[in-house]
């Protein structure tokens, strides 16, 4: 009996010892050995959760770039922010304090906004967001990624005006990014044009039937489908089932999903959207590697950022890293030409935005 009790007491001690050995071993093997100095870059993206499709594409893009950079001393440490602010903050703290990364990239607006106040002067932080005020929080924050709302709106309005569209109705999911696109659409309208919000949805809504009734009442020349992944094809499907003939429709980069287009069974054909691009060569390479063509723009951006980090940056200290990022000019990436730009208190990377359409269930670039 006593013997058994002693054995039981040893079990937790044994488990603790194993954990300690694993941790120490991990620390030793992860960077304590060898003469080659490795620079770590932290990448935080939604690898699970509702926007995982984007985060995984971004991560794949980074890995693809790094795999082509045979002799790189740059190592990427990935963390999952689950599209959740609390997760993003702990991921940032872990990357900076435990992994000792030299810079951090975070994918997503709300998660970047959550991290921004704790960046201070720790490491250069690339916030992939469309929201300019974020860079005023710390001089070490630079904004990157996504469509810039002004570029998006310029492309979309140009197209809509060429089709003589005057009255736009918008179905929108209530997230910061899509709210920005909607606000810019309204700002850019002329006096004889109108942009009306038909309905505003929650992130996980999958039933648009009642709102589709509001679309048919409005007699719009064009409908903005500013919805997120999974919702876009559902909207087209339910509109068809309710007998609604949609006028011209346009969307956001959430249209850049082959699975979404396939789910809509041809109903998205003719729709337009503006987004950043990816060269055909990159697309082919990516598809052959990952057997997936969804969120190509997000993958391309991950790829270009990793190329910049692998080839352009001087890793002497955090200030030289920041200066190197700021010196990026006419970098020839798979998205087009990337440059650092600074206006007032905003610091960001510029890149071209393209107008795209869906034809025969495939994405085509119009210009």
């Amino acid at each position: 009996m006593n013997n058994q009790a002693t054995k039981k007491n040893w079990i937790p001690i044994g488990i603790i010892l194993v954990i300690v050995v694993v941790i120490l071993g991990g620390v030793y093997f992860s960077g304590g050995r060898g003469s080659k100095k490795v620079t770590k870059i932290g990448v935080i993206a939604p690898l699970t959760g509702p926007l995982a499709e984007y985060g995984i594409a971004f991560k794949n893009g980074v890995e693809l770039a790094n795999s082509q950079n045979g002799n790189s001393n740059v190592q990427y440490v990935f963390e999952d922010n689950k599209w959740d602010s609390k997760e993003a903050i702990s991921a940032f703290n872990k990357l900076v304090q435990v992994d000792g990364v030299s810079a951090v990239i975070n994918w997503g607006t709300p998660t970047s906004e959550a991290i921004a106040p704790i960046v201070k002067d720790t490491v250069p932080f690339i916030a992939i967001t469309t929201e300019p005020p974020i860079t005023s929080i710390s001089p070490y924050i630079i904004r990157g990624g996504f469509n810039q709302p002004k570029d998006y709106v310029a492309q979309v309005w140009k197209y809509l005006r060429s089709k003589n569209v005057k009255k736009i109705g918008v179905m929108k999911t209530d997230i910061v990014y899509l709210n920005s696109l909607f606000a810019e659409l309204q700002k850019a309208k002329n006096s004889d044009e109108s942009v009306t919000l038909i309905d505003n949805f929650n992130f996980d809504d999958a039933d648009f039937k009642t709102s589709i009734g509001k679309v048919s009442k409005g007699q719009y020349d064009a409908i903005g489908v500013l919805l997120v992944s999974g919702q876009v094809s559902t909207f087209y499907k339910q509109a068809k089932e309710l007998g609604l003939s949609l006028p011209i429709t346009f969307g956001s980069d959430f249209f850049e999903s082959q699975s979404e287009i396939d789910a809509a069974q041809g109903l998205m054909n003719g729709a337009v959207y503006a987004n950043t691009g990816a060269t055909q060569e990159f697309t082919d390479k990516y598809v052959s590697t990952y057997k997936n063509s969804s969120q190509m723009a997000s993958a391309a951006y991950g790829y270009d950022l990793a190329k910049i980090f692998n080839t352009v940056i001087n890793y002497q200290d955090k200030d030289t890293i920041l200066q190197s990022l700021k010196s990026v000019k006419d970098f020839s990436g798979v998205e087009g030409t990337l440059s650092y730009s600074e206006t007032n208190n905003d610091r960001y990377f510029t890149k071209p935005t393209y107008l795209k359409t869906i034809t025969d269930n495939k994405i085509q670039v119009i210009n």
Binding site: T48, G49, P50, A52, E53, G55, I56, D174, D199, N200, F201, N202, D204, D205, A206, D207, F208, K209, T210, S211, G213, S229, G230, S233, T234, K237, K240, E241, L242, G243, S257, Q258, S259, E260, D262, A263, A264, Q265, L267, N292, S294
Partner: protein, 291 residues
Amino acid sequence: MSIILQLLVNGIIAGAIYSLVASGFSLIYSTNKFIHFAHGAVIAFSAYVLYYLFSVLELNFVLAVILSIVFASFLGYVMNLLVYKQLRKKHASYVILLIASVGILMLLQSLILILFGADIKTIGLIKITKGLQFWGVFITPLQILIVFLSLILLAGFYFFMKKSKFGKAMRAVSDNRDVAEIVGISSEKVYSWSFIIGSAIAGVAAILIGLEQNLTPTMGTSLMIKGFAAAIIGGIGSTYGAVLGAFLLGIVENFGIGYLPSGYKDAIAFIILFIFLLIRPQGILGIKRRS
């Protein structure tokens, strides 16, 4: 008039979907007396299994449906056997069981993501066409089937619980486990079977919801939130009450967003929930327990 009718039909369709979730969940709650949040993940996982069997392996649809329902039952059985039963043996409280169910929900969601990827999936059996039109109201044949099946479930539950020997055993365990044990009813057996039957209903829900909506790894969570609200409104532990609660929730939500922005949909659901919790905490068909 047709707008009001369309809102009513939209509400009935939404309610039917919620009821498919709420009925299985409520059946499990009625005997096990804890909130099995992982029920949503059983629905999501089974929908993905149907997708895999039918769209990837290209099995016959009927066979894929049967296998998906069997899978759902098995998943429920295994969850009970490996997690909940072990916790019950250690006299874990209902709060611990609830926390375990949230853990299983997250685990299964992550597993779906690893196995099937993050992009949306569609079963793709039904070609998208204009719905059938009656008195200016549109409804698709699949939506009619969903409503019809949820009403059959309502009737089926009523007779199962009231008339069948096993239903009576479930009610006995639900009412007082110790007394049920004294008269020879094995509570563990009842727990297991409630998971098997409840999860089989989740399998049916998975098929119908999977045909109606896109599949996403997190779909189980959002379905579960509405299913849970419906079960509370209907009277938690009362399976046919859950079905009624689901229809009430669907109809009120759709009439609400007919006049308010859709963003208030969840708020409407929770306002109804609060009203019930304040005025009739036992729900529509729940029994008021004496303190």
